[in-house]
């Protein structure tokens, strides 16, 4: 573990601030994991990252639909992303976080429960390598070379599977 050099750190910060002021550059994305897959979302599509709070289950809903919860006054519907995308169990850990959707998707009033939040990542070299998934268009790599699936919330929001939380509705 290398020791932090405060002077260089400050310098780096000030350089980056200057760079940010001059040009937009690549906006960082919020990286997270769900069902053993690394995903990333633009910060603008997320209004808040919240720790797991009390959940009120809703009877007769899909297994991945965890129920309703209260995040600082606003009631949102909570979906287990791993269970939804990868049919995993709806297990919750200490690292589990709730991503409250914001921006254009704020009206959905829903949240995604992810296994863990990795942090902010600047993802470059995006490519459409992975088109097999309904909600992912591109795949990119960050500075360390790790592969991140760039999630497309618009696709999810429009998908019936995500909206029909009732199993009868889906079957119907």
């Amino acid at each position: 573990m290398s020791k932090l050099d405060l002077r260089s750190f400050q310098q780096e910060i000030s350089e980056r601030l200057a760079a940010a002021r001059k040009s937009g550059g690549d906006a960082p994305r919020l990286g997270f994991t769900a069902g053993d897959q690394r995903y990333a979302l633009p910060l603008t599509e997320v209004s808040e990252v919240a720790p797991l709070t009390e959940i009120r289950t809703v009877p007769g809903t899909q297994p991945w639909f965890l129920g309703m919860t209260n995040v600082r006054g606003s009631v949102i519907a909570l979906t287990h992303l791993g269970a939804l995308l990868h049919k995993t169990t709806t297990a919750r850990t200490a690292n589990s976080r709730v991503l409250v959707l914001g921006g254009d998707y704020a009206r959905l009033r829903c949240g995604l429960l992810v296994d863990s939040v990795a942090g902010l990542r600047v993802i470059t070299n995006t490519s459409e390598q992975r088109a097999d998934h309904a909600w992912a268009t591109n795949v990119g790599a960050d500075a360390t070379g790790a592969q991140w699936i760039l999630m497309n919330l618009g696709l999810i929001a429009r998908s019936t599977g995500f909206l029909s939380i009732m199993p009868e509705l889906e079957s119907a």
């Binding site: 573990m1 910060i13 980056r16 601030l17 002021r21 960082p28 603008t44 997320v46 808040e48 942090g119």
Partner: protein
């Protein structure tokens, strides 16, 4: 001539055998035979021979004796006739006593002796009677003489009592009692001044005694009167003596008084001059009282003189109308008067004492005079009484004459006894002569028969006759027989001695060999004992060495025990240190747990920071360009939070590792502690084992030292045994030497036996 010393049993057999021992000539034999002859002569019957004792048994000799007796009777006829002749001639020479002459000598002596004893007894009896009578008479004479003396004593004592001598009264009383007792004894018998006597028996004497007794009975009351007035007479005497002492003083004081008064006046002087005259007269009258009879007139004059003296003194002192004188005033006269009065006081007291006892004095004086007169008559009567004894003859005269007669008769009887004895002696000498002659003949005969015996012929037999030599011949025969037996015995005994000495020689030779072998064996045994002593000494040394080894083993065990103790202490220390370390490690684990908790807290904070940073970044992104700077900061914060979280995770991992290691260390420590405890137990066991070893070593050392001591004692005993063996060896060698000596002695014994046999070879048996 054979010269053999016979054994004592033979010599002690009879006197006759002893006499024949060295008989060489006849005279010697004769002198020795004398006692036997006398014995034969004393016997009443000349035909009975005194035979030796051994004839009484039923031996073959009995026959022989009978024969010789018969022969002896025939032969002895002339000898006995000669003896009878001698006896008759002896009887003719001496005249027999009348009456008792026919009795034997013993009887005669008995009769004469009895007679002499009886006469002697009578003589002594008569002498005793005479002595008794004269003693009685002497006692009477003495008692009578005492009466005579007593009368004089009474007269003397009375005269002394009259002049007041104190001792004379006692003397008078004693004389009176003696007189009375003697008179009573002479009259009736009893105790007198001459011892016990009988009363007088002759009538004339009794009359004389009565003449003494009559005046005596008159005197007795007068003596009693004098004795009764003892105090009066002594007082008179003493007072007169005192007054005689006072008289010169009174005389001088009165002289002084008259001299002093002469200055006062003529009347007073004439009064005072009377005083010395009175004094002299009083003294004279008083002395007259003592010496002479009491004259009543003199007594009256004495009283009058005393009162006159007293009046005169009073008149001089106080004055007198009647005499016309005044009381004396001048000091010289007064003092002289006082002195005279003082001197007169004693005078007056004495005179008044005498005047008071005058009646008794008069009576006593009269009695005394009566006694003096009467004693003259008493004395002359007593003298007459004693004269009566002189007139009569001795009462024991007849007894004296009788004793003289009996004494003479006794002497005569003794003379007769002497005659009888003399006759008997004469008779005996004649008989002895005859016997001697006969015996000489017999002895010569015997010597002839014994001629061959001297040549060593033991087959000789002497003929036994009824003579005195018969017994000798018989004894000689017996002796010769015995001698023959002895010679035969000697021969056979020497044979036996020879064979016995040969046997002894053989035995002593074997004994010598045995003792030699014994010496060898003892020497071998000594050598063995010496080597045993050496080995015992070796054992003793080894035991001492062992004792030292056991001692060192003991000390090593003690060191080991100390080491084990130290080890146990060290282990206890280690256990303590381990426990301390375990405690510290436990504390370390607890500290790491705290670190973990803190790290957890930091992790939570980091996560929240991360979430906050994300949310800040989201907010900045939503702000568009305005929030671009902020977005950078938020990104950095988020990145730092992320790194913090990673670091925190690493710390947590490290802390977990530490805790696991700590746990392992604690477990390991507990195991170590267990190990240390077990090690301590083992050390304890080792310690106890060592102390056991120590105890055993000590016991071993004790045992070994006791073994050493015992072996040393054993060595001492063995050396004593060696000494004992040496002694035994010496004794054995002595025995060997003695055996050799014994052999030599046995050889000598053999040669002695041979010479003994040779010495008896001359005897013919």
């Amino acid at each position: 001539m054979v010269n053999i010393t016979l054994p004592s049993w033979m010599t002690g057999r009879s006197g006759a055998a002893k006499s024949t021992q060295r008989a060489t000539d006849a005279s010697d034999v004769l002198t020795r035979m004398e006692p036997v002859t006398r014995i034969a002569g004393l016997g009443d019957s000349p035909n009975t021979a005194v035979l030796p004792r051994h004839y009484s048994d039923n031996s073959p000799y009995t026959q022989h004796v009978d024969m010789s007796n018969q022969g002896g009777t025939l032969e002895s006829t002339p000898t006995s006739s000669l003896l009878d002749k001698l006896r008759t001639s002896g009887a003719g020479a001496t005249r027999r006593l009348p009456i008792i002459g026919k009795y034997p000598l013993d009887k005669q002596l008995q009769i004469l002796g009895t007679l002499a004893g009886f006469l002697l007894f009578l003589t002594v009896l008569m002498l005793g009677l005479n002595l008794l009578e004269s003693r009685k008479l002497n006692a009477h004479i003495k008692a009578t003489a005492d009466l005579e003396v007593g009368a004089l004593t009474i007269a003397n004592a009375t005269a002394q009592a009259q002049s007041g001598m104190t001792s004379s009264f006692k003397r008078l009383a004693v004389a009176r009692d003696d007189f009375a007792r003697n008179i009573k004894a002479l009259e009736d018998g009893g105790e007198s001044s001459a011892g016990m006597i009988d009363g007088l028996e002759v009538e004339g004497q009794r009359n004389s005694l009565r003449q003494v007794k009559q005046p005596w009975e008159k005197i007795v009351p007068q003596i009693d009167d004098v004795l009764k007035n003892e105090s009066v007479l002594t007082t008179l005497s003493q007072t007169v003596k005192k007054i005689n002492e006072l008289t010169p003083q009174l005389q001088s004081t009165t002289d002084q008084l008259s001299l002093a008064v002469s200055a006062v006046g003529a009347r007073e002087q004439s009064l005072a001059l009377q005083l010395p005259i009175l004094t002299q007269r009083i003294a004279k009258n008083l002395n007259g009282l003592v010496v002479e009879d009491v004259d009543p007139e003199a007594v009256f004059e004495l009283g009058k003189d005393v009162s006159t003296f007293k009046d005169t003194l009073k008149a001089l002192r106080e004055g007198s109308e009647e005499l016309r004188i005044n009381a004396l005033k001048d000091p010289t006269s007064v003092s002289a008067l006082a002195a005279a009065a003082k001197a007169f006081e004693g005078f007056e007291r004495g005179v008044s004492d005498i005047l008071r006892v005058t009646p008794g004095l008069v009576a006593a004086k009269q009695s005394a005079r009566g006694i003096s007169e009467a004693t003259v008559g008493l004395n002359s009567n007593a003298k007459k009484l004693s004269d009566t004894f002189g007139g009569m003859g001795s009462p024991g005269a007849l007894a004296l004459w009788l004793s003289l007669l009996f004494g003479l008769t006794t002497l005569l009887t003794m003379g007769l006894i002497a005659k009888v004895l003399f006759d008997d002696a004469k008779k005996r000498s004649i008989q002895a002569e005859e016997e001697n002659r006969r015996n000489q003949e017999a002895i010569l005969r015997l010597l002839n028969e014994m001629g061959n015996l001297a040549d060593g012929d033991l087959t000789v037999k002497a003929s036994v006759t009824e003579d005195v030599t018969g017994a000798i011949a018989d004894s000689i025969n017996f002796t010769v027989d015995e001698l023959r037996g002895v010679v035969t015995g000697i021969n056979s005994t020497t044979d036996q001695v020879n064979s016995a000495t040969q046997e002894a020689q053989r035995i002593s030779a074997r004994l010598f060999e045995e003792s030699q072998r014994q010496s060898n064996e003892i020497q071998k045994a000594s050598a063995l004992v010496l080597s045993m002593a050496q080995s015992i000494n070796d054992v003793s040394a080894s035991a001492a060495q062992s004792a030292r080894v056991a001692q060192s083993s003991l000390s090593v065990a003690e060191q080991g025990a100390v080491a084990v103790q130290n080890q146990i202490a060290s282990m206890n220390d280690i256990r303590g240190q381990i426990q301390e370390t375990a405690k510290r490690i436990k504390r370390l684990g607890e500290s790491s747990q705290e670190i973990g908790q803190i790290t957890e807290l930091i992790g939570d904070i980091t996560q929240q920071t991360n979430v906050l940073a994300l949310n800040a970044a989201i907010q900045a992104a939503s702000a568009g360009d305005a929030g671009r700077g902020f977005s950078v900061v938020a990104e950095e914060v988020q990145r730092l939070a992320e790194r913090s979280g990673e670091a925190t995770k690493q710390i947590e991992a490290i802390v977990k590792t530490i805790q696991a290691d700590t746990q392992d260390a604690v477990v390991a420590m507990e195991r170590s502690t267990q190990g240390v405890v077990e090690g301590t137990k083992l050390s304890d066991a080792a310690g106890s084992a060592l102390s056991e070893i120590r105890r055993v070593s000590r016991e071993l050392a004790d045992l070994i030292s006791s073994i050493s001591g015992q072996t040393q004692r054993q060595a001492t005993s063995v050396s004593e045994v060696t000494r004992g063996m040496q002694d035994i060896l010496r004794v054995s060698e002595d025995a060997s030497r003695s055996t050799q000596l014994t052999t030599t002695q046995i050889d000598k014994l053999t040669s002695l036996a041979r010479s003994l046999r040779e010495s008896v070879a001359g005897f013919k048996v």
